[in-house]
């Protein structure tokens, strides 16, 4: 009949929402009896009044320990996420250099720039693989859903390519959404995954199964803010500009570089605009093959790098979201621990006082 413990939840959001909880488990005591009203986070009581206070003390102590260890975990996760954000950014730097090496194209026909009347749209939805990252995954999925209903309203057919475990599990549960393919990565986003997605998208577009490909991912705005955006991937526009669904230019020229550094002991993000000048093409340069062939070779490269960039930006935002969520969880854990300690001390003092009284009463009775 040893009383067992209560479930306790440490919320990772500031108190007004209860999604995304970090858990530490205790079991319920089946013989619940409340004699004294404690604040809601209090424990159940064991049946015998003799063992009541002792068990409560022990349970309180255990709870304090677990909250302490939870806090350590969330703090560690926060630092790990910060380190990974750095890695993701460095990968993007290399990408930008390659993008800016591309040549200007005039009116040359290439299978990827063909503009067809749109009957079917492919959506590439990029989500994360793991949870505990706040509202990151749900924001992207919500955006994708709204676009899907948009397309349905316009009478267009659609198909979904889902990247990331969270998105995969969501879309596999929904029966009314047709999914083309699930892509699951292993750890860090590599060019091989981008290659796979690019191949898929390329063949879909070229064989005219879809007429337009859009990318749904989260743009990294700052450490605390990230925006899910939708970008048109194919067909590529001639001038190399990239347009949003609403016609807003989402160009790669204004790209910024984020560096995660520390400022006065706290993590901060420094921005740096990348200005890579395209070197002048030597007027004597000959082309080994005719322009069409060269463009044919370059377009897949460009496509690949666009997809890779979206993947890595998504990864960076996911890690930033996880950092925030874990930091909130840590703060909540600290507060919970404080409250529990106060209750624990009060109980302990009450118990000691009770024992003293008993002893004194017993001594009185004897004399």
């Amino acid at each position: 009949m040893y009383s067992s413990n209560l479930p306790t939840w440490v919320s990772s959001k500031p108190s007004n929402s209860n999604k995304n909880i970090l858990l530490y488990q205790f079991n319920q005591n089946p013989f619940l009896q409340f004699s004294k009203r404690l604040p809601p986070k209090s424990l159940s009581q064991s049946p015998s009044p003799f063992t009541r206070i002792r068990c409560r003390l022990r349970e309180l102590r255990k709870r304090i320990e677990t909250v302490k260890s939870t806090q350590k975990i969330t703090e560690a996760m926060k630092l790990v996420a910060a380190a990974k954000v750095r890695r993701a950014q460095e990968a993007v730097i290399n990408l930008l250099y390659t993008i800016n090496e591309s040549l200007q194209c005039d009116d040359v026909d290439c299978p990827l720039t063909v503009i067809r009347p749109v009957k079917k749209v492919a959506l590439v939805v990029i989500t994360g693989d793991r949870g505990l990252c706040g509202s990151f995954n749900s924001a992207v999925i919500k955006k994708a859903e709204s676009r899907i209903s948009n397309l349905k309203g316009l009478g267009l057919d659609y198909t979904v390519i889902s990247v990331g475990k969270k998105g995969n599990s969501y879309f596999s549960r929904k029966d009314d959404v047709s999914v083309e393919r699930f892509v699951e990565g292993v750890g860090f986003r590599t060019a091989k995954e981008a290659q796979m997605i690019a191949d898929d998208v390329f063949s879909l577009f070229v064989t005219e199964e879809v007429d337009k490909v859009e990318l749904v991912y989260t743009k990294f705005v700052s450490l605390v803010k990230s925006d899910p955006v939708i970008r048109t991937l194919l067909s590529l526009s001639v001038r190399g500009e990239v347009f949003d669904v609403n016609g807003n230019c989402v160009d790669a020229v204004e790209d910024e570089l984020f560096m995660l550094t520390t400022k006065e002991g706290k993590l901060a993000v420094e921005r740096d605009t990348v200005r890579v000048e395209g070197g002048p093409i030597s007027p004597l340069m000959q082309f080994e093959q005719d322009p069409v062939q060269i463009l044919d070779a370059m377009m897949p490269l460009y496509l690949n790098s666009q997809i890779l960039r979206a993947l890595q930006e998504s990864l960076a935002s996911e890690l930033a979201a996880r950092m925030n969520a874990m930091s909130n969880a840590t703060d909540n854990a600290v507060e919970l621990k404080k409250n529990l300690s106060i209750v624990y001390n009060r109980e302990r003092q009450a118990k000691i006082t009770g024992e003293i009284l008993e002893i004194v009463a017993g001594a009185e009775a004897l004399t």
Binding site: A91, N94, L95, Y97, T98, E101, L103, T190, A191, K192, A194, Q195, A198, D199, D200, S203, L204, V206, T207, E209, I281, S282, L284, M285, Q286, F287, E288, Q289, Q293, I294, D296, A297, M298, P300, L301, N304, S305, L308
Partner: protein
């Protein structure tokens, strides 16, 4: 007078140093590049890049790319590149067999395109290992 070769993938810089000569396989055949070559821009096919350093040839498998040659500077942009010495022979052979099987099974234009690409890549990797002389 040596050539400076730079092979870049989106993830990392695969090669960035000086070489004596390279042999590149492009869409229109193989070309050899010596120092003071004319400025040229070319599309590179899925194939092998051979690099000569001091009478020693190295091979690298390139998966389709673009190359720009000018002023003794060669820049090759690839989606994926693997040094011949980094490829595991067993694994590459197996990948080749799997790709061939997939091609035979492919139905429809789209799958055929995809499997063709995969096959060419697998074949390039196997050749890269065998071509180390």
């Amino acid at each position: 007078m040596t050539l400076n070769l730079c092979v870049l993938t989106p993830n990392r810089i695969v090669w960035d140093s000086e070489v004596k000569e390279i042999i590149l396989s492009t869409n229109s055949g193989q070309i050899g590049v010596l120092p003071n070559h004319a400025s040229i821009a070319t599309a590179v096919d899925i194939g092998i890049l051979r690099i000569r350093l001091n009478n020693q040839w190295l091979t690298m498998a390139l998966m389709g790319s673009f190359a720009r040659i000018g002023n003794n500077e060669i820049t090759i942009l690839v989606n994926d590149a693997e040094k011949g010495s980094d490829i595991d022979p067993q694994e590459a052979q197996q990948a080749l067999e799997i790709a061939e099987a997939n091609l035979r099974k492919a139905e429809g234009k789209r799958q055929t395109i995809e499997e063709n690409l995969a096959l060419r890549r697998a074949r390039t990797r196997v050749e890269a290992i065998n071509a180390i002389l």
